[in-house]
């Protein structure tokens, strides 16, 4: 493997972030508990600077580095900037939650930054091993973060489940990758594409590998039937970590799907194969996610099942197998992250010392205690249900359009019918906030920073609903400029 100094330029953001993590790790040793805000501040600065660095590549044609292990293109720039900002916003929401729970420590921030780095590596990977390394860096950081509340039996259990099932999924992925390697004699995405196109690859082995890879992706994404860990982990993890798991990694997972399925295994014959698998996973996710969410009384569990159903929608966009579908899926996942930040962020904001506001009951009468935050939550819930004029509607519209355009009208009908079922439990949240009398009189104590950000978050859901054009255009451009398999 040759190394040239030019390789450093496309990866400057990752290198900066890695350096920053090391500095923060060391610096935190010299910071007393009262001055922990220094660590927090440095973390935020590192994330924002990284976001700026990545955003620089938003117009560039694909640039390959490190012997083709790494790619910097418009697609990765957009997603990486999104990941950094999402983590940064999540940390702002988490701050007042972490402090009273003894998690406001250097480890938390360092782990969050390592997870971010892992996601960035995943998004920019152009080689199965780089992809896998990024994924493991992300997963290991998240396992540790879930277990960070050491005294909580529930968190420890969740961490254990997450770890065991995550390891199983990684194993499946590796197995699948090894089969692809066996068929194509390469792990570099470009070479895999070339080998498949040349027709030399053994298609039986390739398809076997594909099955394992799809199963691995299903695990990481939390799509049915590989979803068992999602509710337990979302429920058991400290809410700040749930926010972390539920938002930015979805962007990385989408990039993972794009790199693996769309690019590496995007040959027409293989698309036909994985489309069928994704159809099944998507329908099952829509059914299970939406129906089981109704029975939940815990807000985090409910949102976990709602995530499962949203992943079903995301897969709808991917399975259409054309540029429109991929950009629709990218738009969907971006919108989902914005909504997820709002929903999980609201649970964090409502929690206070010694009380986790994670039961549906805690939302009762919120509109009388805090009309503004209740309004934001209302907007987020209607957006998740896909009711205009919120942005969730356009997300649904774009994936449905992708599905209908390939002639799968029945799939679109199934999707909308189950999103109707989903509307019920989102409406129940609105009902609790607006129609019921408050069961407690506690006042939310929201810091200035998180208050302003949460307001901006809610307004963004509404404003993007009025003007979704810009975000749609960004997704479309990123996909068309970057993807190597154009149909």
């Amino acid at each position: 493997m040759e190394f040239s100094i030019m390789d450093l330029a496309p990866a400057s953001a990752e290198i900066f972030l890695l350096a920053a993590v090391c500095v923060i790790l060391v610096a935190d040793l010299f910071v007393s508990d009262e001055r922990r805000y220094l660590t927090y501040g440095l973390t935020q600065v590192a994330l924002v600077v990284t976001a700026f660095l990545t955003a620089g590549g938003i117009d560039s044609a694909p640039v390959y580095a490190f012997s083709g292990m790494f790619v910097g293109d418009a697609f990765s720039s957009v997603l990486k900037a999104g990941v950094c900002l999402t983590v940064a916003i999540g940390l702002v929401y988490s701050r007042s939650y972490l402090e009273p729970r003894g998690m406001y420590r250097g480890e938390y921030f360092v782990l969050a930054l390592f997870a971010t780095l892992g996601m960035m590596v995943m998004i920019s990977a152009n080689h199965f091993l780089a992809l896998y390394l990024g994924l493991e860096l992300l997963s290991l950081s998240l396992y540790a973060m879930v277990a960070l509340a050491r005294d909580s039996a529930r968190s420890t259990e969740a961490a254990m489940k997450y770890f065991v099932l995550g390891a199983l999924a990684s194993g499946m992925l590796l197995y699948g990758m090894s089969m692809v390697y066996g068929a194509t004699a390469s792990l570099a995405i470009g070479d895999v594409i070339a080998a498949i196109q040349s027709g030399d690859a053994n298609s039986t082995i390739l398809k076997f590998g594909l099955v394992f890879i799809v199963a691995g992706i299903g695990f990481k994404l939390g799509a049915v039937p590989f979803h068992m860990w999602v509710p337990d982990v979302y429920h058991g993890a400290p809410t700040a970590v749930t926010l972390m798991i539920g938002t930015a990694p979805k962007l990385a997972a989408f990039a993972f799907i794009v790199r693996m399925l769309v690019e590496a295994l995007g040959d027409e014959q293989l698309v036909v194969e994985w489309r069928q698998m994704l159809v099944l996973m998507s329908v099952a996710s829509l059914v299970v996610g939406n129906v089981v969410a109704i029975a939940q009384t815990n807000l985090k569990r409910m949102l976990a099942y709602s995530t499962i159903s949203h992943m079903g929608f995301l897969l709808l966009g991917v399975l259409s197998g054309d540029i429109d579908g991929y950009s629709a899926a990218m738009f969907y996942v971006s919108v989902y992250v914005i909504m997820g930040l709002g929903a999980f962020g609201m649970i964090l904001l409502m929690s206070r010392k010694g009380h986790e506001a994670e039961e549906l009951e805690d939302l009762k009468g919120l509109s009388q205690r805090h009309p503004w935050y209740a309004f934001i939550m209302l907007v987020v819930m209607f957006s998740m249900a896909g009711v205009p004029p919120t942005v969730g509607f356009w997300a649904k519209l774009s994936v449905l359009q992708a599905v209908v355009s390939i002639g799968y009208v029945w799939l679109a009908v199934v999707a909308v019918l189950f999103s109707l079922v989903g509307a019920f439990y989102y409406l129940r949240v609105v009902k609790l906030m607006f129609f019921d009398e408050p069961s407690q009189q506690e006042v939310m104590q929201v810091g200035v920073g998180s208050g302003v950000l949460m307001s901006a978050n809610g307004i963004a859901v509404l404003a993007l609903g009025m003007m979704p054009g810009a975000l749609l255009a960004i997704c479309e451009r990123a996909i068309t400029m970057s993807l190597r398999v154009a149909t």
């Binding site: 004029p389 009902k431 749609l472």
Partner: protein, 493 residues
């Protein structure tokens, strides 16, 4: 004399006014919120008036068109324009909003700002539905109206309000989601356009037409509501606050019928013709069967709700016989039903505010204590029964005349409404208003105040004017109806 972008003004002025009202915050500023809402709604009505004056009655095409590119990825545009049908419904909506704000003046004492804002925002959105010429824009407005209505029923409604609000929302969402799929299908079939006027000219095979028709029907039939998907309506009406009932009956039901007129008929004319007997059958069942159901109701609001379903059956009947009389009658019936049902719900509201009961059995001899009210109530009850000289007669008469040229038995069945309508309305009126004073509570009733007098007075004038001289309405409708029927007459196979 037209303001810049008249349709946008009609849509956004009430919405902005509503948002401003929201900012008055808690109930300490309730008085300010009420006055701001009143000014906003009156302004909303005033800016709609130039549409009436400036409307060219000799033109069948869409007027006051506005165009702005909106979402270029999907070729969705902010395209507005109205014909005579939309014009009448917009005016009806703007007027109703003013009356609803006044009607809620004293009754609503908690969360006043939110109540008033919800109605103003709802009013703007409904104007948006009536003036959209882009399918996606239409859908956005159509769906968005659910949110304020859901909140209105759920927050200010009666004891069983949560059930009613959820039922209302989910029922209507089910239909609209299927419509969404149909619209996306049309988008693909038309090669990437959401413009309604493009869909009007798009050839579609019969099977696809029928499926599209069914999907659109799912949304609009629930909204109208047609038998047998009407069951959400009585629940929603009974639980909604008076203002909510008025808007629901007067305006929101019209969205469904309007959808038939604007989308179903011109986009899938062959399927509409093919399935017309089914729709007509459902309409006639609504007219007759629901008439019987209304007869046995013990709750006044429920009775009027069922009577609404029966009257809306007339509207769908008029639409699906595809002739000028029928269609004109249907639109006039929509406007007239807007005034009459709104007025009847307000009348029930007047009684409910005083005695907190909607049961017919709790009343009797109201005329002895509330003579002025009894006179108004009488007028609206008669109009509901379709008495000549009131607006209720004009629409029904035109529809009946239209059906006569199609099929005698349609006419015969439809005309029975004149009997049933009179029976259930007047029987209720008799039990509530006439007779001796039934109990101490009724004895303590006081007659309507000036505010209530004003609201009912405006509606009474409207009902009588349309009943006596409907020509201004038919003038506005003539060309639009003729233009629409041309689309229906041309096969798209």
């Amino acid at each position: 004399m037209l303001p810049f972008a008249p349709l946008s003004t009609v849509i956004w002025l009430p919405i902005i006014a509503g948002i401003l009202v929201l900012f008055t915050g808690s109930d300490r500023n309730a008085v300010l919120a009420r006055w701001m809402a009143l000014i906003g709604s009156v302004a909303g009505f005033l800016v709609a008036l130039p549409l009436w004056n400036g409307f060219d009655r000799n033109l069948g095409a869409m007027q006051f068109q506005e165009f702005q590119p909106w979402i270029e990825t999907f070729n969705i545009n902010y395209r507005l324009g109205i014909d005579g049908i939309s014009l009448l419904l917009i005016l009806l909506n703007c007027l109703t909003t003013v009356l609803v704000v006044i009607a809620g003046w004293k009754v609503i004492q908690s969360r006043v700002a939110q109540y008033m804002a919800a109605f103003l925002i709802l009013s703007g959105m409904i104007n948006g539905v009536f003036s959209s010429l882009d399918a996606a824009l239409f859908y956005v407005f159509f769906e968005a109206t659910l949110i304020p209505m859901f909140v209105i029923i759920g927050v200010w409604g009666g004891p069983n309000r949560v059930y009613a609000a959820l039922k209302f929302f989910l029922y209507t969402l089910l239909g609209s989601l299927l419509t969404l799929v149909a619209l996306i299908y049309l988008y693909n079939a038309s090669g990437g356009s959401f413009t309604l006027l493009d869909y009007y000219l798009l050839p579609i095979p019969l099977t696809a037409q029928i499926l599209i028709f069914v999907a659109l029907f799912a949304a609009f039939a629930v909204k109208v509501p047609m038998w047998p998907v009407h069951t959400w309506l009585p629940d929603a009406h009974v639980e909604a606050p008076t203002g909510g009932s008025v808007v629901l009956a007067a305006i929101m039901l019209k969205l469904g019928a309007y959808g038939f007129i604007r989308l179903s008929l011109p986009i899938v004319p062959d399927a509409s013709q093919y399935l017309a007997p089914l729709v007509i059958a459902l309409s006639l069942i609504a007219v007759v069967y629901i008439g019987f159901v209304a007869l046995v109701q013990a709750d006044m609001k429920k009775l009027i709700a069922y009577s609404s379903i029966a009257h809306m059956g007339f509207v769908t009947l008029g639409i699906f016989i595809f002739n000028p009389h029928g269609l004109q009658g249907a639109v006039i019936q929509m406007v007239s039903h807007g005034f009459i049902s709104g007025a009847l719900f307000l009348c029930v509201g007047v009684l409910y505010d005083r005695l907190h009961s909607r049961l017919i059995a709790d009343y009797g001899g109201v005329v002895n204590r509330m003579p002025v009210f009894a006179a108004f109530f009488m007028l609206f009850a008669m109009a509901n029964a379709g008495l000549p000289g009131t607006s209720g007669f004009v629409g029904e008469f035109l529809v009946i005349m239209g059906t006569m040229s199609v099929n005698f038995w349609y006419t015969f069945t439809a005309a029975t409404t004149l009997v049933f309508g009179a029976a259930y309305t007047l029987w209720m009126y008799k039990r509530v208003v006439f007779g001796g004073v039934a109990n101490d509570k009724v004895a303590s009733l006081s007659d309507i105040d000036r505010r209530e007098f004003f609201v009912l007075g405006v509606l009474a004038i409207a009902v009588l004017c349309i009943g006596i001289y409907p020509k201004p309405l038919t003038d506005v409708l003539n060309m639009s109806v003729a233009g629409l029927l041309e689309y229906v007459a041309v096969s798209k196979l």
